[in-house]
Symmetry: C2
Subunit: 221 residues, 2 copies
């Protein structure tokens, strides 16, 4: 943290944070509610804004041979969705998240907020070329699996066969368009979340939660 | 469906829907984009607005003795969250969703939209008294389980012991405050989604996805 801006009310509510910043020599500025709103680019700000280093690391740094669970976002443009998936990946104990293709910038304020801190918890990489991401995943020993609502096989069937026990990079597409057919075809497999009722699909974050937790559980079985 | 309002563009895009409405004798009105926006109460309307009957049924109608999986929303005020949980419950094959306590009205436009049609797929009931809901769930033979981030036991442990094979009503609290302690204490059990990484919590919809799919899978094992 390089600098901290807090409103008076927020400083009162987050005393521990302010103390840590102060004792680390971080410059602290008390600001008005209006300034906090402008700095945080949101209508209901928390009253705390910190200036931090960018969180992105290189593909090689994110995808180490010890990685067992990785989430790849392919063309996920919505910052709220992307941030929520980072939070879910963190919760499920993923080793890294990779933003591939035309995905949103992880530093987008809405993405950072939706991640509720998780952008600082696990390595996050970005590469414009999805091909480079897939190559790096395979080099790290990860099986590339598309989360694809149109897949013929569902993740429960795959799990019962033991497939989810492999180190896995789940590849998630945008909520609006899913993954392009040629991307799905280029991966090592494709699985859908089973739909037992009348719903035609799940949203990105809830589908990611089911997929990533299925792998997390298989890895610990 | 009692009446249908469509823009010209949306009528073109949803020809099948318009044909079904027309052949069922539903009055159809072509409206401007501006009218569609006002009717749908959203800034990026789909251009289709239908007037339908309220979807709510009585507790007794929703909670039949054949129910095996039910989602209870306790004090969930955010319509987007509530609608997304209805969608997840539908996808996981739940038999009903119950809105309890000070939860949002299921007919709220944002809730209906977030459910992407699922409010029409499974029985939805509402009761101001959470106690009445819990009594009705028990009468239907359902085990009441709190989804509670502060629970000592996690759902994987419970699942391995066979607990999730029982007919279950999952009780979810608001994203901001979770479930009140006295509600958790009054139920038959409390389980948390395990957090394997640095995240402190999951959001309501992703936690519900993991819980409901764990039950759905246990019921089909």
């Amino acid at each position: 943290m390089h600098e901290l801006f807090v409103t008076e009310v927020a400083a009162e509510r987050n005393r521990e944070l302010v103390d840590v910043a102060a004792s680390s020599g971080v410059p602290i500025s008390v600001v008005t509610d209006k300034a906090a709103a402008a700095l945080s680019e949101t209508v209901t700000p928390q009253g705390v804004v910190a200036v931090c280093d960018p969180v992105e690391v290189s593909l090689d740094a994110a995808l180490t041979p010890s990685a067992r669970l990785v989430a790849v976002l392919h063309g996920v443009a919505d910052p709220g969705n992307a941030g929520t998936v980072v939070r879910v990946a963190d919760a499920a104990g993923a080793d890294a998240v990779v933003f591939a293709g035309d995905s949103v910038d992880v530093h987008n304020g809405k993405c950072v907020r939706a991640s509720t801190g998780s952008v600082f918890h696990l390595p996050i990489a970005r590469a414009r070329s999805a091909e480079d991401v897939f190559t790096a995943c395979r080099a790290a020993g990860l099986r590339l699996v598309a989360a694809d609502g149109y897949a013929t096989e569902d993740l429960v069937t795959a799990d019962l066969r033991g497939d989810l026990a492999h180190p896995t990079a789940w590849v998630f597409g945008s909520e609006a368009h899913g993954l392009p057919d040629e991307v799905v075809a280029s991966l090592d497999g494709a699985l859908k979340v089973p739909l037992y009722g009348g719903a035609e699909s799940l949203n990105l974050a809830t589908a990611a939660a089911v997929c990533l937790y299925a792998s997390a559980r298989a890895h610990r079985a």
